[in-house]
Amino acid sequence: MQELSKQLTERFPFLSARPSADHPAVNCPQDNVLELLRTLRDEDGYQMLMDVTAIDHYEASPRFEVVYHLFHLERGGYLRIATPCEGDSNPICQSVTELWPAADWHERETYDMFGISFRGHPDLRRILMWDEYPFYPLRKEFPLAGEEVELPAPDFVEQTGGVRVEKAPMMGGPFHSGQKGPMSAREPRADDESWTEVKKRGSDLEGEDDKPREFRPTRT
């Protein structure tokens, strides 16, 4: 696994190895990413683009990284390539739709969830949320419960007496199912059942609620 990323970093001097627990992985600067992916596709047999997604590093800069997973059709095996985006509040990344038409929807989803604009994308629209939705839900500052928003269709809103997007009641959630034990113990449960929307959390978390979960102080 390390061998492959080592070979690649030797062959392409602009690459650096990326820590990884599973597949070989490299970091690539934004300017070289198209050239690198083209070479990997045409010369190295990584013909299939399995996934395009992104990572939000929140307080770090560059804040967003776009991650590609390539698959080798003959040998099997994945290769992960990560590239930082230009700009932290309005991130931009090079589109790879010219190499793989399949990247179209992957990049639309990444745009929808993270707000990363892909330069050269033929039709960059939201794909999961509706077009007027003002937030990017997978950014770290976006709360899991969501934000209050008006829904787009006026006739529908009128008929339903003004239904709108409301913050979902978390009731101690998010909900996870335990991975161990008998089926009965594996049904989804709230992370922290000590609080609900009515019964508030302890005072040690006051004022910290607007931070992303993993950046809040842990309770003892």
């Binding site: 839900p137 969501g146 529908f156 008929q159 339903t160 997007v165 979902a168 009641p169 009731m171």
Partner: protein, 178 residues
């Protein structure tokens, strides 16, 4: 002289006439020919298909004629997770159904949003359409759906159908209240 204790239909007395109330007849017809509109949106729809199959056999209750056109159906079974993006569509389809019509919220998601406490999921379909029967479970067993549909039949049985035939069925309020 004996007094007749029979209250049922007596052909010797009544000939070929049956006396009843219009409501009873109309409701009897309606509740035994519910045409469901399968609004299958997520995993619950699989159980809904199971109910339509031979093993659970929803046709025992006269509801096997599932129609994918709102114009031809009168009971929308919302089976699955309703996202905000889909909510608009669900309501439009409900509006396109002809009166009389009923709505069954099948499963935790349709009833309350279920385990999806998230930015994208409508927290209960009763915020956009008037729901008659809620069925718990994730997913509900096919028997639970059948039980819910029988509850719906009970409900139809007690409706004032004649009055609404004359005056038009009053448009019902959403059951969700803040």
């Amino acid at each position: 002289m004996s007094i007749s204790k029979e209250y049922g239909y007596n052909s010797k007395v009544e000939g070929e006439v049956i006396v009843s109330r219009a409501d009873a007849v109309i409701n009897w017809v309606r509740r035994h020919s519910v045409w469901p509109m399968p609004m299958g949106l997520a995993c619950c729809a699989i159980e809904l298909m199971g109910v339509g199959g031979s093993r659970f056999d929803i046709s025992r209750f006269g509801m096997e004629v599932m129609r994918f056109s709102p114009r031809q159906s009168d009971c929308m079974i919302v089976a699955g997770t309703v996202t905000y993006k889909m909510a608009e569509v669900v309501r439009r389809i409900y509006d396109q159904m002809a009166e009389p019509k009923w709505v069954v919220a099948m499963g935790a998601c349709a009833s309350t949003g279920g385990m999806y406490r998230s930015y994208a999921v409508l927290q209960g379909v009763d915020r956009i359409v008037p729901v008659d029967v809620y069925i718990s479970g994730c997913p509900p067993r096919p028997e639970a759906l059948l039980d819910g549909m029988m509850k719906l039949q009970e409900k139809i049985k007690n409706e004032h159908s004649t009055r609404s035939l004359m005056r038009g069925r009053e448009s019902r309020e959403l059951s969700y209240k803040d």
